[in-house]
């Protein structure tokens, strides 16, 4: 297997872009990545395109990748469509990485794109419910409920177990809203206070509106090539993919003592990259509901059980901390166009590692970074997809 570099990234801002179809959202992200890498459309040997809800929400049930890429001038190559719920983009990245690592392709493109604003939020929520196994979604179960009380995370139970308060739940949202306020690509750019987050209306007890990621349109892309070829195209900081791990959820019965899948997927990523949690300089993680960031701190090995809020109180995971988490603003502030999120995370890490993150630049430029992305929900108490990528410069 060859070492693989990310030589170009690009993103469309996240937010509400009613007039833009999928291909119009993807176009600036794709060309942003091509121009950043210094490659032409004809240089791309293979492309993976992640999208989750486009079939139901736009009516473009098939060949979304080919439609989106033809609009951007990329044709006549293998194009693989990837649907893996909120981890579609990280799955697309993994496909592109394997193509280059295996020597099948020299230059590969990974794209994630999502169009969620279609003028009927109930329809969008319905489509989102459809990335849970139908046995759950047909009973009216929603993602917000899954974070609140589903056994895989059960934030409500954490309040009992750890003594976490509503204010603790609000802390990641407040931290990330500050980061997002510095990010011109972010959907929500207003810094929030603990009071505002706690007092916003309850969506699913104990989660309030400002603790939840919102409906979003957006896109992101990355150009990958072999490390040997990277010099030919880009003089920017060399960034390599040290590991890219994907795991499906595991059927868990009550009393199952095995570590959860966010833990096992991140452990595999650390192991393959030859690093540990303490070596990571910056992290983008899947805070679909803000307080889930506190649980992910534990699962990624950043702190012990229940210590999540301390990492924010003690300025460890803030932008000025030793391990900033979600410098982009994360899913709640930057935005969560679901099929684009994994690559939006990668874009942010690349910009941070190159020192190109503008006002939200982490002062000590990160050298080892991690993106954690997950999605879907299965029977048997687990998410459907867990992805974890470690980058090195």
């Amino acid at each position: 297997m060859r070492d693989v570099a990310i030589i170009g990234v690009g993103a469309h801002p996240s937010g509400r872009f009613m007039e833009k179809p999928l291909k119009a959202l993807a176009y600036p992200a794709i060309w942003g990545a091509l121009d950043d890498a210094g490659v032409k459309p004809t240089d791309i040997n293979v492309a993976y395109v992640g999208n989750s809800l486009g079939g139901l929400l736009t009516g473009q049930e098939g060949v979304r990748g080919q439609v989106v890429l033809q609009h951007s001038g990329i044709t006549g190559i293998p194009i693989i469509n990837v649907e893996n719920a909120c981890a579609s983009a990280m799955t697309a990245l993994r496909g592109a990485w394997l193509e280059v690592a295996s020597g099948q392709a020299d230059i590969a493109l990974a794209v994630g794109v999502e169009k969620m604003n279609v003028g009927d939020n109930a329809r969008t929520i319905g489509a989102l419910s459809g990335v849970s196994e139908l046995d759950l979604s047909e009973l009216g179960m929603q993602f917000t409920t899954s974070y609140a009380i589903h056994p895989k995370i059960n934030l409500k139970a954490r309040m009992q177990e750890y003594g976490w308060t509503a204010a603790d739940f609000a802390k990641p949202a407040v931290k990330n809203s500050y980061n997002g306020s510095l990010n011109p690509l972010a959907q929500h750019r207003k810094p929030l206070t603990i009071e505002e987050v706690v007092q916003s209306r309850i969506i699913v007890d104990p989660l309030t509106l400002l603790m939840c990621s919102s409906i979003s349109d957006g896109a992101a892309a990355a150009v990958l090539c072999s490390v040997d070829m990277a010099k030919r195209f880009s003089s920017k900081t060399k960034i390599t993919i040290a590991s890219c791990v994907l795991q499906s959820g595991v059927y868990r019965l009550p009393g199952d003592e095995r570590p959860d899948s966010a833990t096992t997927s991140s452990q595999a990523a650390y192991e393959r990259a030859g690093v540990g949690p303490k070596d990571i300089d910056a992290i983008e993680l899947h805070d679909a509901m803000a307080p889930s960031e506190l649980m992910l701190y534990e699962r990624l090995g950043l702190c012990g059980p229940g210590d999540g809020p301390k990492l924010i109180d003690e300025h460890v995971t803030t932008l000025d901390g030793s391990q900033p988490v979600n410098p982009s603003g994360g899913l709640c502030s930057r935005g969560h166009p679901v099929g684009a999120t994994g690559l939006l995370q990668i874009c942010e890490l690349v910009w941070q590692m190159r020192g190109e993150a503008g006002k939200r630049q982490i002062e000590k430029r990160p050298k080892v970074t991690m993106a954690q992305n997950q999605g879907g929900l299965l029977l048997g108490q687990d998410s459907a997809v867990y992805g974890c990528t470690i980058l090195k410069s």
Binding site: T145, I203, V204
Partner: protein, 139 residues
């Protein structure tokens, strides 16, 4: 009226018999799953699953009130997970009659299965499904 998912729910017609869920139990390792699946998730044996009746009662594992309904459902509504004595932990809605307020449910409380329309909406009024209510509630 039709049963939303007849493979999951048995509504007996004999007098005195009560409705129940239909799950699978593995011949080899006795793991019980709901809904049914042909391969045991614990020992991975294929085709060794027997259909069994489960879930007439349960214990409340977790609960919340959802204040936003997907299309075809109403809010506010309880959403819960129930531990069945046979093993599975399942998602469910709560049967009617219980005011949707904090303090009405307590984790660990005994629950029992009832059969009701999925939701009191034009989309789901004619679809029967299982729900759970506190065991002390109406018959």
């Amino acid at each position: 009226m039709k049963i939303l998912n007849p493979d999951n729910l048995r509504i007996p017609t004999e007098p005195g018999a009560t409705p129940c869920l239909l799950g699978n139990r593995c011949w080899d390792c006795s793991t019980v799953v709901f809904p049914k699946m042909p391969v045991c998730p614990s020992c991975h044996h294929n085709g060794h699953m027997d259909e069994i009746e489960i879930g007439r009662t349960g214990k409340l594992y977790s609960h919340t009130i959802s204040h936003f309904a997907p299309k075809g459902f109403t809010a506010p509504a309880f959403q819960i997970f129930v531990d069945l004595p046979e093993g599975p932990r399942i998602f469910s809605l709560v049967g009617r009659g219980l005011p949707v307020e904090r303090g009405m449910l307590e984790n660990g409380m005994a629950m029992k299965l009832v059969v009701e329309p999925l939701a009191d909406t034009p989309e789901h009024r004619e679809e029967l499904t299982y729900k759970y209510v506190p065991a002390g509630a109406r018959a």
